[in-house]
């Protein structure tokens, strides 16, 4: 089968890109599981007002899927990618072969597993990752914090850490953590929320509202040293004037994004340049080190949903420009 463009990954970036180009090119989206990616698992974070988390932006993409003019292959894993004069040749697990002129990598990122963060109590009961809460919002995870009187957020858990080769800011964690904190405060005003952080990364749209939320909670500019379970409570060690200890009923580790396994794999097959953080290097407007291969979305660095969508539209314009010659 021949296509003008094969998009690898059917998340927000891949689907937006496909929708931008569906009238102009023959487009195929190959998705490992089901379309939607990471955004489809997140929940709306509105309290009595909209906090502009942007998760609902995915709804429109999903709705438009009903009227799509491009093809989607669901539940198919790509096993090999080769390049020749005629274009790129892809093979899937089920033995299907596709040839395409251009390739777009939108394989995205994945949240860091908190099992790896044993230093901060990853794996202990009542230690949640920010993504666990995001995913549980639709099922009402907020109400399970009813009996918590104190709760702490630990920001940059796993991000901005050079020792573990993740010396980058994941850009979304401060904002989603503040929104979750606002949700908790809204449901349980008596709850004492501490926020351990390095810098509050609030840039972009609606930053005024987020700064207001930040003023409501206790900000502590320290990264805790370790977390231990003591007498049913989580005891947290950090350094302010001297070594201090504080215990909490629950802990939220705001984990960042790491390149997904698909991103690493496909980047290796195509011989793309990676940047020092493990994401695919983008040379502006989605161009990569390999001609004819474009990258968009979180495969080339952490982004929020809105930026991902905007970027995908821009990359779509660029691909059309390249194709037209």
């Amino acid at each position: 089968m021949n296509y003008d463009l094969v998009i690898m990954g059917g998340g927000v970036a891949g689907l937006t890109l496909a929708q931008t180009l569906q009238d102009k090119l023959e487009v195929l989206v190959v998705e490992e599981s089901s379309p939607g990616g990471m955004a489809s698992k997140l929940g709306c974070k509105a309290t009595d007002e909209c906090l502009s988390c942007g998760v609902c932006r995915f709804i429109n993409i999903e709705r438009e899927l009903c009227f799509k003019k491009f093809d989607i292959w669901e539940g198919r894993k790509i096993t090999s990618v080769d390049k020749s004069d005629r274009g790129f040749h892809l093979k899937t697990e089920k033995g299907e072969k596709v040839t395409s002129q251009l390739l777009a990598v939108a394989t995205g990122a994945s949240p860091l597993e908190i099992k790896n963060l044993s230093r901060w109590g990853g794996g202990l009961p009542r230690v949640y990752s920010g993504w666990d809460i995001e995913r549980g919002l639709n099922e009402g995870i907020i109400s399970s914090f009813r009996d918590c009187s104190s709760l702490a957020f630990i920001q940059c858990a796993g991000s901005r850490n050079f020792k573990e080769k993740r010396g980058y800011c994941s850009q979304v964690c401060c904002r989603y953590a503040l929104r979750i904190a606002e949700n908790l405060k809204f449901s349980f005003p008596q709850m004492n929320i501490d926020f351990y952080y390095m810098d509050l990364q609030i840039l972009g749209k609606k930053k005024e509202k987020l700064w207001k939320i930040a003023d409501k909670i206790n900000l502590i500019r320290h990264l805790p040293y370790e977390v231990k379970e003591e007498g049913g409570k989580l005891s947290l060690v950090f350094e302010e004037q001297g070594v201090e200890r504080k215990s909490y009923d629950a802990l939220v580790l705001s984990v960042g994004m790491v390149p997904s396994s698909g991103t690493k794999e496909i980047g290796k097959w195509l011989g793309l340049n990676f940047d020092s953080t493990g994401f695919i290097k983008s040379y502006g407007l989605g161009h990569t080190s390999c001609e004819g291969v474009f990258v968009c979305g979180t495969a080339c660095g952490p982004k929020d949903i809105e930026t991902t969508q905007e970027e995908a539209q821009k990359v779509g314009e660029e691909i059309w420009r390249v194709r037209r010659g």
Binding site: R63, C66, Q309
Partner: protein, 468 residues
Amino acid sequence: MNKLLWLENEAFSFPDFWIEEMERDNGWKIEVKNWGNKPDNFTEYDRIFILGDSFSFTQEKISSLSEEWEVNPLKVRVFPAEEVKIIFPKSFLSILEKFIIQSLSQPLFPVEARRVVPENRVLVLPQLSPALEQTLKKRGIDTIVPPSSFSLQREGINFRLYPSGDNVGAIIISPLEEKKFPISFSSSVQDTRKLVDIEFMEKEIEKRDFRKETIGFIIPKKGVTEKEWRKAFHLSQTLVERDKAEVFILVEEVLVAGENLEKEYRKARSSGVIFEKVDFSKLGTRPTLDMRGIEVEFATERDKLKREVKVDWLVLLPERNILPFKLAPFFCGDKIEGEILPLENPNVLPFSSGIEGIFLCPSEKEEELSLVIKKYLTEGVVREIGRGEVDEEKCVLCLTCLRTCPWEAIEIEGERKKARINGERCHLCGLCASFCPAHAIEIKGLSLENWVSAVSLGGKNESSSFRL
């Protein structure tokens, strides 16, 4: 004989056993098609049924589909697929039959789905910035510079600008910004003329050398944009690397959550720029004795020790606060009140305000905004003309509808001065119909009873009390 079309999706489809039976009993002719092999001509069918989820097939979607197929939108009906799952299979057939019979019994009014495309011209208020003008020009959109005094009125989907009489398709509000700084400086410090903004520094660095000088930056946390942080990182790095100057950056927070912004921060820091997190409330300044520099006193957050640095230049990045812009004074009609706020809603285009055709431009998002505007101006919207009708005999001209309509679709027209609904603006919300004390307004085909009685009540109740 009624000719019916049944459109199915890949995700939802029924087995075909029901068709024969139903055709025989009722004398219909049912054609079952998939979305992949849609017929070319839709006009020959009496009714078009879509099996789909009502989440995807919204009112707007049905309008645009009927526009595409050139059929009366009242002919197109959606059988809610998500309801089908919970209906007991045996009762399903009778429900489906009831649904079709009810749909066929509905009178067909002459309604046309029409694509209304706005004028390819925008008005930018209150001021057109060069960046926005450039990107709009790149995408082939004309811009109008607002005259010193003007008024606006709705003209169908467009807005008419008076006194020139030009039509504009959309209005972009790019709000003015107010620059403020969290710290105040005494007049003697300002007299040194060493307090400068970043634009000044950018120009100056090209002209002269800052060798052996000390330069301080003060950057507040709120209201500084990504672009300005980028500028500050870049500028400080050049000062250190090119001129071997000493650079202090005093901040509350270092913001790096932007595309490649963190790399630039690290580059600046490794080149020798000193970043200090300080408490701005304890920051003091005074001029040096020779009035050629400024002494800055601060306590770092790290060890809380007081320090004093003599700087030759102090570069300030102000907090930018958006000044609200009120459109109401320029608008003929009383529907637009107060501030216009951005709307976060997946059902509308990004950057939309609550009012159709009015967009808000956040700073540094000109490129994205022009993409959205281009889409809106070329695709337009689909409206169903002829749905709303006012019974002139009943209308008493109480103007309730005029006041209720959120879209300004009611016009008072004609020799006898009666209310009329402008189809190009009407969004079929039905507010006017529900508020009309004389029951003079009817929105045709807008009633829930069509499928509520058929599906939820299992077809038992002939007349349902559900009515909009």
